[in-house]
């Protein structure tokens, strides 16, 4: 037994020694960097960073050894900032093989305007020099690092600069029209793009060129116009489905508003009618049903700016395109409107179709009160002015209003009754089924208003009114059943009461 213990102990010792020997020890220079102490007497490389280093695989340790030995990494805080990224092995390998990144993260070599740093505490680097953003960039993740855009050889240990010929050099900050064609070198090349994301379109530049933004930038050379970087960012570009992306659905309104809500940027821009371009779109959108759905509830079925205006080919909404945009989601209402008398009337007045009643950016929730006769109703406002002589208008609107509100009130009333009957133990499933039908009828009726035709409207309200009668009968039946239960109970109590009385009398007679 003792011998067996000794053998086991020796085996364990050997295994531990082997395991320790497997990990290559850091080179002297790297070891020095890891143990260098700061002014406070503690190692500059924090315990968390050291723990991350200890968990690195051999390949990454070798790369770090090489960088330290080649004196690309010479300072402990430089090493610390790289380890602090705590990247997964594949990404760290891309980073450690890229001398551009290693050099441009070295505070000793780089000036502030070319140094990538981690943000933290009071340290907030410019957006394009955030090291965390750089390593989270969608391009970096696919192995495309600095040289992918800027050119040069990332493996060059001499750290020499060498740019692609399209790189504009000086003056690139003032004139930004070089950016779209620069990005398009890859993004308009289907052969190149299919290796990375075959589903990504490659017509962005073509669309951009045709858009007002593109024309303003590329033809009028107006650098206020946006280009790729304005919306997607730089050195931190993320997939549009990533919540941190500037073009994530919830962030699109703010991204667009960066220019469109800025009075200085928008100064001088005019609408087709000659009026100045407003800058309150974001404020209006935030209050609208669409804005609240997207921004407050995260409901991405609702549109952001690009769903109506487009993105790379962003256009101001013209009269016809407004209707087209709305009909993409509200197809039923749009179809009814197209078949209505209002279609021609609106065209005659050159009015936007949906927007005339519902507005554009500040679209509010509609309610049945819109149909109620009175000055607050949009229907009556227009008709008083433009269709005074039409005898059908007001009665039709009043009919719509009465019909819908009657069904709606009936739904609420019967729902309450059904709840009470259910609590009394009655079977209310048939009532609920019919209530669901009625709710559908009401919903359809609200949509069928867009036909502005009484006969068409009646196609859905007639079955609705029929449903109201059916529910009324079902409710009456249920109430009768409950009454029958009560009568049955009273009868039973009377019968039992007689038996109890007889028993009581018998007991009294026995005990007398």
């Amino acid at each position: 037994m003792k011998a067996l213990s000794l053998v086991l102990a020796q085996l364990c010792f050997c295994a531990a020694a082997l395991a320790a020997a497997e990990k290559p020890a850091p080179s002297q220079k790297l070891s020095d960097l890891l143990t260098t102490k700061g002014g406070d007497g503690k190692p500059v490389v924090s315990p968390e960073q050291r723990a991350y280093f200890d968990g690195l695989n051999d390949r990454l340790r070798d790369l770090l050894n090489s960088a330290a030995d080649a004196e690309i990494i010479t300072r402990p805080d430089h090493l610390g900032s790289i380890l602090a990224l705590a990247l997964r092995p594949q990404k760290m390998e891309v980073l450690l093989q890229d001398n551009c990144v290693l050099c441009h993260t070295d505070p000793e070599v780089q000036k502030p305007e070319t140094l990538f740093v981690l943000s933290g505490g009071s340290n907030k680097p410019p957006a394009h020099l955030n090291l965390r953003d750089l390593v989270d960039d969608v391009h970096f993740g696919r192995g495309l690092s600095c040289a992918g855009c800027h050119g040069g050889d990332p493996a060059n240990a001499k750290l020499e600069h060498s740019f692609v010929k399209e790189w504009p050099g000086n003056g690139r900050d003032k004139n930004r029209d070089w950016i779209p064609p620069f990005c398009a070198r890859c993004h308009s090349d289907p052969g190149f793009m299919k290796d990375f994301n075959p589903a990504l379109p490659t017509d962005q530049l073509a669309k951009f060129k045709d858009s007002p933004h593109g024309k303003r930038l590329l033809e009028a050379k107006d650098s206020r116009a946006p280009q790729c970087v304005s919306c997607h960012g730089v050195h931190g570009i993320r997939n549009a489905k990533n919540p941190l992306s500037l073009v994530y659905r919830k962030r699109v309104p703010e991204t667009c508003a960066a220019c469109h809500s800025d009075a200085t940027t928008m100064a001088g821009f005019k609408r087709p009618d000659g009026s100045p371009m407003p800058t309150n779109q974001l404020t209006e959108y935030r209050l609208s049903v669409h804005g609240r759905a997207v921004l407050e509830r995260g409901d991405f079925a609702a549109p952001a700016c690009n769903n109506c205006h487009g993105h790379h080919s962003a256009m101001p909404a013209g009269l016809s395109s407004v209707n087209q945009s709305c009909s993409l989601c509200h197809a039923g209402n749009a179809s009814l409107f197209d078949g209505s008398k209002h279609k021609q009337a609106f065209e005659k007045h050159n009015w936007p179709q949906c927007g005339q009643c519902h507005g554009n950016h500040p679209i509010m929730k509609t309610h049945d009160g819109w149909l109620e006769p009175g000055p607050a109703s949009p229907c009556y406002k227009c008709h008083d002015e433009y269709a005074k002589d039409n005898p059908d208008c007001s009665p039709s609107a009043a009919y719509f209003y009465t019909s819908i509100t009657q069904m709606d009130r009936a739904w609420h009333r019967f729902s309450e009754t059904a709840e009470q009957l259910a609590m009394r133990g009655l079977d209310v499933d048939p009532i609920h089924d019919k209530l669901n039908d009625l709710a559908d009828n009401v919903k359809q009726a609200r949509s069928y208003i867009h036909s502005f035709s009484k006969p068409v409207f009646q196609r859905v309200t007639a079955p609705g009114e029929q449903t109201v009668q059916t529910i009324s009968k079902l409710v009456d039946d249920a109430k009768s059943k409950y009454r029958a239960r009560q009568i049955g109970l009273v009868t039973s109590i009377v019968l039992i009461g007689f038996v109890m009385l007889a028993l009581y009398l018998k007991i009294r007679s026995l005990e007398r």
Partner: protein, 463 residues
């Protein structure tokens, strides 16, 4: 060849074969103790039996339509209550009589406790009653799952999960109870089997034994009561009174079933079918068991996750087991009652237990909760409100006992009220307050015991 019977007609015919005359003679001479004491408590066993009979009758009728199974249990109950004539009434009466049976049984047990009816020679009557009480809770727990609705499913998941806390065999027990690691159709089949076959068989057997004991030994008069030489005749006088009370109970059940078919709406006393169970759906917050398990549910909540090297639920289970074992052994612990002497300490122990249960149940009902029920502020308000209610109830009970029944021993009920006050009003944790109250009760019991022994010893050596 059977001997000719003494009577004529059916009785004679039966007597000639089964000699039932002796049984009739026994019943004819059976009497219920009569005296200045109240006879009300003698009827509670009968009402419990009546509610059980209602359970059996309505249960059999429900069984004609109920189909156990993941795809059929909920649907069959739904069909039964909505389409089958009087199906709703059967389910409602079944549920109401179940709850009333528990109430009646609890009242019967506490009345037995207070009147010391458990004293020799009736110890086994107490034990059989005690087991029947446990089985009744088992009936409630197993029957709760059978409709396979959402609430029942999650309540059963939470309830059965407690079994895990049994040291050593917890996981094995849980698997046995659920028929697997989770609540599934297997659990439903098991609970169905328990509810309609195993528990009823054992319960009926125990009722027979319990009644046999009662018939052989008669009903116990209270300790020291002056009993009249001739009691009330069991047949027909007492039996007719029983029948009268049963009819009254039946009327009450009918009224409740018609006007409140899904229960009074109190948490833990509500049997609306609701939605079908969905094992994949997340459990919704605030799941609570039936009202008679609420005290244990709340006690579990009062325990921290770990205490004295044990898990909180394990320690809670240990405490509950200890209290239940004491309750079962009362006939042997109450030595004064054995000598037919009043034992006010045990009466007060019963009242203390009632106050203990009242406070925990009120707290489980979140009496006085603020809008966000689980916030620390709300929990404090709940504890204070429930403490005030319990203190008021305790003061009322002690007052009545002091003035009407001339009781003078209140140490246990006092300890229960001290516990409640320290927790609800002073703000100590439930367990700390409990430990102080238990220490108080222990001192109150031990000091007089030691004194009385010393006195006895002194009296023994005195010339």
């Amino acid at each position: 060849m059977a001997e000719p019977g003494r009577g004529r007609g059916v009785v004679g015919w039966l007597d000639s074969r089964y000699q039932i005359t002796s049984l009739i003679e026994f019943l004819r001479h059976k009497e219920v103790p009569k005296g200045p004491h109240s006879m009300v408590w003698y009827y509670l066993g009968g009402t419990t039996t009546f509610f059980f009979m209602l359970q059996v009758i309505t249960g059999v009728l429900l069984l004609m339509y109920y189909q156990p199974g993941e795809a059929t249990a909920y649907e069959s109950i739904r069909y039964l209550t909505t389409k089958v004539p009087f199906g709703w009434l059967m389910r409602s009466v079944h549920c109401w009589s179940a709850h009333l049976m528990v109430i009646s049984l609890v009242a019967h047990m506490f009345s037995t406790m207070m009147l010391k009816a458990y004293r020799p020679p009736r110890e086994l009557t107490w034990v059989t009653g005690y087991i029947m009480f446990a089985l009744t809770l088992g009936f409630g727990f197993s029957g709760y799952l059978l409709p396979w609705n959402k609430l029942a499913f999650f309540a059963t998941s939470v309830g059965t999960d407690l079994v895990k806390s049994v040291p050593g065999i917890g996981n094995w027990l849980l698997n046995v109870l659920r028929g697997g690691p989770d609540v599934t159709a297997n659990t439903l089949y098991r609970f169905f089997g328990l509810h309609v076959v195993i528990l009823p068989l054992v319960f009926v057997g125990l009722i027979a034994v319990h009644l046999l004991f009662v018939q052989r030994q008669g009903m116990a008069p209270p300790v020291g009561a002056k009993v009249a030489p001739h009691g009330m005749k069991f047949f027909p006088n007492f039996a007719l009174r029983d029948l009268l009370l049963w009819l009254f109970c039946f009327t009450i059940v009918l009224v409740l079933a018609v006007f409140l078919p899904y229960g009074p709406g109190i948490p833990g006393m509500d049997w609306e079918l609701g939605q079908k169970a969905d094992p994949l759906a997340p459990a919704f917050p605030g799941i609570k068991p039936e009202w008679y398990f609420l005290w244990e549910y709340q006690l579990l909540k009062e325990f921290p996750p770990h205490l004295f090297g044990l898990e909180g639920p394990q320690l809670c289970l240990l405490l509950v087991t200890f209290l239940l074992v004491i309750w079962a052994l009362i006939p042997w612990l109450d030595r004064r009652a054995t000598r037919d002497e009043p034992s006010p300490g045990f009466s007060d122990f019963g009242w203390g237990a009632i106050l203990f249960l009242i406070f925990l149940t009120l707290k489980a009902w979140d009496i006085g909760a603020l809008q966000s029920v689980d916030s620390p502020a709300s929990l404090k308000v709940i504890a204070r409100t429930c403490a005030l209610w319990t203190l008021a109830a305790g003061a009322g009970i002690i007052g009545i006992r002091f003035l009407v029944y001339r009781h003078r021993w209140f140490w246990f009920s006092g300890a229960a009220l001290l516990h409640v006050a320290l927790h609800g009003l002073v703000g100590l944790s439930y367990l700390t307050a409990g430990a102080i109250a238990a220490l108080f009760a222990a001192i109150a019991v031990i000091v007089p015991l030691v004194r009385s022994r010393r006195r006895t010893a002194t009296a023994g050596v005195a010339p």
